[in-house]
Symmetry: C2
Subunit: 350 residues, 2 copies
């Protein structure tokens, strides 16, 4: 296998966790005689500092010409509290998603029994939690027309969806459900939003092509509650961009630590893999961030390449570190290992 991988280290803890993921991919490549060509590109606050743009053209170019993208994290606190900022790191990621038509963000949420002590939820609720969230990523309120009136007194964000945008991700969700517990839950706000009614109509129609999969519906407010009250009920959760942003971060509490969760964003062209945690500047440069989210994202990348054996090797190695107490500071603030040490350990055993 020969593949080109664009690596975007990004901001905050992005670089240090992504470097561990690259280490693992290199170890896997040498073990399986794969050829991975890594090419580094800029995005986010880092890119703004170096080039003035949150997504330089060369980065889009590199991404378009690669088989997958491995990405760290984006964002910098200096932009967050400045409502007047002209450029923002996040614009880079949003534009990249749109340019590559990465319309489906896939976030598996698994519970790790060895992390139960860290979870805010009671153990009995978490046993057997195993869901995957399919979040639409290139439409909705993120990308509709935005306005700010000349006098600065009024602003707007339009949420727009077309049937075809809904259908393409609905197919992915139903296909995923087929290989799982055969249930799709559409989360929307169809009692209030016109776009949600379109989602309900379109997803129902697609559902008829998958008679072996059960489809049910939840309003987003109820879903936010059910995720915590009864998380085992969920198999595949399908939802629009903004609801998916909120629910997938909320669902991360089920895993026991945000630092562990990987994600894949796929579409017509490229495929991007990133941990769901953010840039977390407080920890940046200290070699204490949890690299497992990035490493498990690399496992999803391997799956994407069809290298399932290698992917499961990585997952088993991750499991092994957790079960044997080789964990970062977020998991054990007293007896902890450094980011880079965990990366080396896993690279050694895969």
């Amino acid at each position: 296998m020969e593949k080109n991988i664009t690596v975007i280290l990004g901001d905050g803890i992005g670089p240090e966790v992504t470097r561990q993921a690259v280490k693992i991919l290199e170890a896997i490549a040498s073990h399986y005689h794969y050829h991975f060509h890594f090419r580094y590109a800029l995005m986010g606050a880092d890119a703004i500092d170096k080039t003035g743009s949150p997504l330089p053209d060369e980065t889009i170019e590199a991404c378009l010409n690669s088989d997958a993208i491995l990405f760290g994290a984006i964002g910098h606190p200096k932009y967050d509290n400045d409502p007047a900022a002209k450029v923002r790191p996040e614009q880079g990621l949003l534009k990249l998603r749109k340019s590559l038509q990465l319309f489906a963000n896939i976030r598996p949420v698994t519970h790790y029994p060895s992390l139960q002590h860290l979870s805010p939820l009671k153990a009995a609720l978490l046993e057997g939690v195993d869901m995957v969230i399919y979040r639409e990523l290139t439409g909705g309120i993120y990308f509709g027309e935005k306005t700010i009136s000349e006098d600065g007194q009024q602003a707007s964000d339009n949420c727009v969806y077309s049937i075809s945008e809904i259908e393409r991700i609905a197919h992915l969700a139903f296909q995923a459900a087929r290989n799982r517990r055969k249930k799709v839950t559409l989360v929307d706000k169809a009692n209030v939003l016109e776009t949600s009614r379109l989602w309900r109509k379109a997803v129902k129609a697609i559902g008829e092509q998958y008679p072996d999969v059960t489809l049910d519906f939840l309003f987003v407010d109820n879903a936010a509650m059910q995720l915590i009250l009864n998380p085992r009920q969920f198999d595949v959760v399908l939802t629009e961009n903004m609801f998916g942003d909120i629910l997938s971060d909320e669902a991360s509490v089920l895993a026991g630590s945000l630092g562990l969760l990987p994600s894949a964003s796929v579409g017509n062209g490229g495929a991007l893999f990133e941990p769901i945690h953010g840039s977390y500047h407080d920890a940046a440069g200290k070699d204490i961030a949890n690299p497992l989210g990035a490493i498990l994202s690399a496992a999803m990348l391997l799956d994407h390449f069809g290298a399932h054996e290698a992917a499961s090797k990585v997952r088993m190695a991750v499991q092994w570190t957790l079960e044997n107490g080789f964990v970062t500071k977020d998991i054990d603030p007293v007896n902890f290992y450094f980011t880079s040490t965990i990366g080396e350990l896993i690279a050694d055993v895969v």
Copy 2:
């Protein structure tokens, strides 16, 4: 004290829980020699069945001419899965909120230690949880222009906010914080949405008028996580309509039972009090629903009338039932009391 109260029983379990709240208000009135005039009005699925409209003009009229509204719940499953329905029960509530300019929805979230066994969260996290959510209720994506293309292929919902809409609820939130732990957390998505950036700018400016109150900011995805990971950090949570809908239902898991949570919706003109649970049709007509959300909403109504002693009498009675095992089926599925029995018990002791 002489007051006119419009009672809207609504749908599902709405009527049976609201009747208990009326019972309590009658008991309070007789104890304190208040004069409460109750006038019943229709809204929701019930109103559609009886009049064809989810909010008949007489209901708006009655509400405009009363000092407060006591409301049960709204909604019927038969509309939820019908994306083509022309009228919907929810339209009644949305129109009422808009007509009366009920721009602030206030939801206190308190943890009841005697319900800890019901909570999905570990006890250590919940101790001392005491927050109140200020959700904007008459703007945002709920009320912006909605479109559906002629061919039914595309839909949109516009989210619009003006500075003045933000300022009026921000003042209420800061004032509330002054009487509490002096902290306001604005929840938005300012890294993506223009409306959120307007919120951040406007709320920051208002915050300068309240130098004794700390203001901080959270992105909504992070807030959805923090509510579960570290709920004690919150005092007053201020947010826009849709985020507030999601977060306040999510926060309800902190109380131990959705059935217990009250809310008030206030504005320039009227004031409406309702439990946050919905119409829950599965339990309707069985005398098993929890009336405490409705009864605690009546307590908020009493506070609104300045009858603080009476309000705290009601709250203490509620506390007493919980601590002595006088609870409904949602709280104890084996040894439970009926909705009406709990209502009578509380009416007897206030």
